[in-house]
């Protein structure tokens, strides 16, 4: 449900960045989403199709890049990548974990002219 306001923020950010970079049209938005966020690509696409109308993003599509959950265990001091957002060290089972990546939700780049 929160993807509406999130997608609105995405479109607003891309319009601003298109202006700053002298783009009249954006064709691709390269978006990175960490696996430890609550954002769904399907919902973002759903709202994007509606929100992009009449803006410089009108002809754009979003390319999603999933960022894995990478952690460092404070117990054994080793780094791992985990599939599920459950912060347990797969190497020593400790739960005192530092999250290295997985919370990203950013526009990496835009392509346009």
């Amino acid at each position: 449900m929160h993807e509406y306001s999130v997608t609105k923020s995405l479109v607003d950010l891309c319009i601003r960045e298109a202006d700053r970079n002298g783009f009249k049209k954006i064709y691709r938005i390269n978006l990175a989403i960490g696996k430890f966020t609550g954002f769904s690509a399907d919902s973002i696409n759903f709202y994007f199709d509606y929100l992009k109308e009449g803006t410089s993003c009108q002809d754009a599509e979003i390319s999603f890049k999933e960022v894995p959950i990478a952690i460092r265990c404070r117990s054994c001091n080793r780094e791992s990548t985990i599939e599920e957002p459950m912060l347990i060290c797969p190497l020593c089972n400790a739960v005192d974990i530092e999250l290295l990546t997985g919370r990203e939700f950013l526009v990496e780049s835009i392509e346009g002219e």
């Binding site: 929160h2 306001s5 923020s9 950010l13 970079n21 005192d96 950013l106 346009g112």
Partner: protein, 220 residues
């Protein structure tokens, strides 16, 4: 066609606005708690107990609901002041909604309790300028919720397990709940309470009082 690197968080505007809100709250010397839980977990009842404990402190509640004023009406019977935000369609409070009510805050407060919209998912993503997030998990919801809604429990500094009075009647194991919280957030402080009976609020409020005092000292 050209490609330019942007490397900006999508929620950059919200983050910037949250920092401005935080500065406003810091200037007031108010300790701000963003209270997040599912509908019916007992957010308003927990808030009533916290207000009762801090009888000498000046407290403001920012009350977030999709519609209605029922929680505000309840809380206006306490010594706290209340500001209502109706989000109408949005399932969470964001930094801009909080910013809109800042002009109504015309006096200093020791504590500001923000009751977010009842939801375990969306409110976790939006900073509002709080000092920390407090998640409430009530016993009828089940002890597996930290695993199902990991982000909130990962970000919450404090988790309150509410409705301990119902433990004999529901399938909820406090030890399992604590283990599940630990899997998301080793550093979270967990307090088991009953807003119905008042049990367990002394340790919680003693912990909060230290935070509130710390903030006051920082201001002075």
């Amino acid at each position: 066609m050209k490609k330019v690197n942007i490397l900006k968080p999508v929620l950059v505007s919200n983050k910037e606005r949250a920092s401005q809100n935080k500065k406003f709250f810091n200037d007031l010397g108010a300790f701000v708690i963003n209270i997040i839980a599912s509908p019916g977990a007992g957010k308003t009842s927990v808030i009533e107990r916290i207000i009762q404990y801090f009888e000498a402190e000046k407290i403001l509640v920012i009350e977030g609901d999709i519609r209605g004023q029922t929680d505000s009406e309840r809380l206006r019977k306490t010594h706290a002041d209340v500001v209502q935000i109706n989000t109408l369609t949005e399932c969470h409070l964001d930094a801009f909604m909080i910013a809109q009510v800042l002009p109504e805050i015309t006096q200093p407060y020791d504590i500001i309790l923000v009751e977010n919209v009842g939801n375990l998912v969306c409110p976790a993503e939006f900073e509002i300028g709080e000092d920390f997030k407090l998640a409430i998990l009530s016993t009828p919801e089940g002890d597996d919720k930290p695993i199902k809604y990991p982000l909130l429990f990962h970000l919450a500094a404090v988790v309150v397990v509410n409705k301990s009075d119902l433990l004999p009647h529901v399938d909820f194991n406090v030890t399992h709940a604590k283990d599940n919280i630990e899997k998301e957030n080793k550093r979270a402080r967990v307090f088991t309470v009953s807003a119905k009976t008042g049990e367990g609020f002394d340790p919680l409020c003693t912990f909060l009082a230290k935070k509130v005092d710390g903030k006051k000292k920082n201001k002075n």
